[in-house]
Symmetry: C2
Subunit: 248 residues, 2 copies
Amino acid sequence: MGSRKTTPLKDFSLGTHRCSVDLRLEKLGMVPFFDDLDHDELRVINQKFSATHHHADETIYHQDERARMLRVVVHGAVKLVRHTMEGKDVLLDMLEPGEYFGNLSTTGNAVYSETTRAQTDVCILSTRMNDFRSLLNDYPNVAMRVLDITAERLQSSQEKIRHLTTLPVKERIAHILVMLSEKFGEQSAYGLLLQLPLSRKDLADMAGTSTETASRIMSDLQDRNIINTGRQWVAICDIDRLADIADG
Amino acid sequence: MGSRKTTPLKDFSLGTHRCSVDLRLEKLGMVPFFDDLDHDELRVINQKFSATHHHADETIYHQDERARMLRVVVHGAVKLVRHTMEGKDVLLDMLEPGEYFGNLSTTGNAVYSETTRAQTDVCILSTRMNDFRSLLNDYPNVAMRVLDITAERLQSSQEKIRHLTTLPVKERIAHILVMLSEKFGEQSAYGLLLQLPLSRKDLADMAGTSTETASRIMSDLQDRNIINTGRQWVAICDIDRLADIADG
DNA sequence: CGGTCTGTTGAAGGATTTCAACACTCGTGG
DNA sequence: CCACGAGTGTTGAAATCCTTCAACAGACCG
């Protein structure tokens, strides 16, 4: 369990890869609002989506652009960022394969309320809003699931507000690491490794603090053998103690 | 324009009042997801709702209670509060007549994620989730509107996260006052008066700060003749300067 | 191997909280 | 009608958490 400093993360690059139909169907089936559909229905829906690839750090769309598409992550990780006038970014969420992003609302001239960037090399399925809207008409159950999931996201967004306004930075960071481990955690020689590149700035933007403070807290957690971390990667050694810190 | 200290707020008390059918229909028609419906359709929907009255400070439902009802404000103001273990509250929103609250999600055993309390004497229309769900099946357009509005609330919740993480307290409070004035502002001798009782603690819980800091900032704004304020009330004298403060 | 990006650490300064004491408003009951 | 008490708001001073500035160290890339 040496304190290795070079990245233990797996390789996300896609090369000249093209998503197979099977992979597309599998990932579409993982999207929570399609999970009631059978294989044939998924095939119909699949035809409405087109796949694109993006390299790490590439912007998929910008905040304030006209919002025309609904997208689904097939491979890799995508981050949602809100910009401020002063140049400070707020990192709202990290998405894993099977999660959707983009515009859900059916109103005509909406704009994206956040920028989305590829955190690794990614493969994305996209569909035009109009197609998605008619899809909701054809499959009322899907429409209900979409509503449920949006309501759930609203809940978790409000829970985030509670954290940001009531907890000190150390607890917020501990909480964020626990959340990320549920999405991206994979057992490894270094502990529960978060399978995505994650910088101190990313953590800071999620916790609403400065990179320096994030760095200090991560150093402290490492000194206490709770985590193991290096450039752009984090592994959790002692999830229980981390969870204890997260709630006071 | 004397700096009166006694409350200039109007009387919200209901006495032995019972909501007339006309008032109920009017307020239901103001709910954003019912606004496409004609008068006859509203009459049908109205029959699914039952009215209740609550005195100021009464709790309508508690966080973590089993979530069975969807509710609509007919008269008065309702506040949404999330509690923390440490006893700190986070005030998520203040609702005016025509706004809905409670449970939207159609999943069976959800619990309320916040406590709601009557900010004034209030009249509330309630319907059981099952009835609302079948209503969404009968009126697909309403279902679409519900989705849009939930997505909108998600947006504004994320915008709130941006404020909380990037702006200093003074700007956050200025912003909150501007928002509240759009909902509750009424012209009066004291300026644009917020027509609801609003304590320093309410403001602090909205801005994620302490009552003392909220008080200091309000005093400062009053000294600069931007607002006019007393016990449980706030009027805005110079909305332009307040808006300037709100965005740096 | 040098440059650049990322992470670390120290020290000073600032914003906000906390603790504490006091002032004002309002409702209630004598 | 007035006095009292509880709830609400104000203000000061000390303490704390966090940011900012600055310098440096380690990792990655060509």
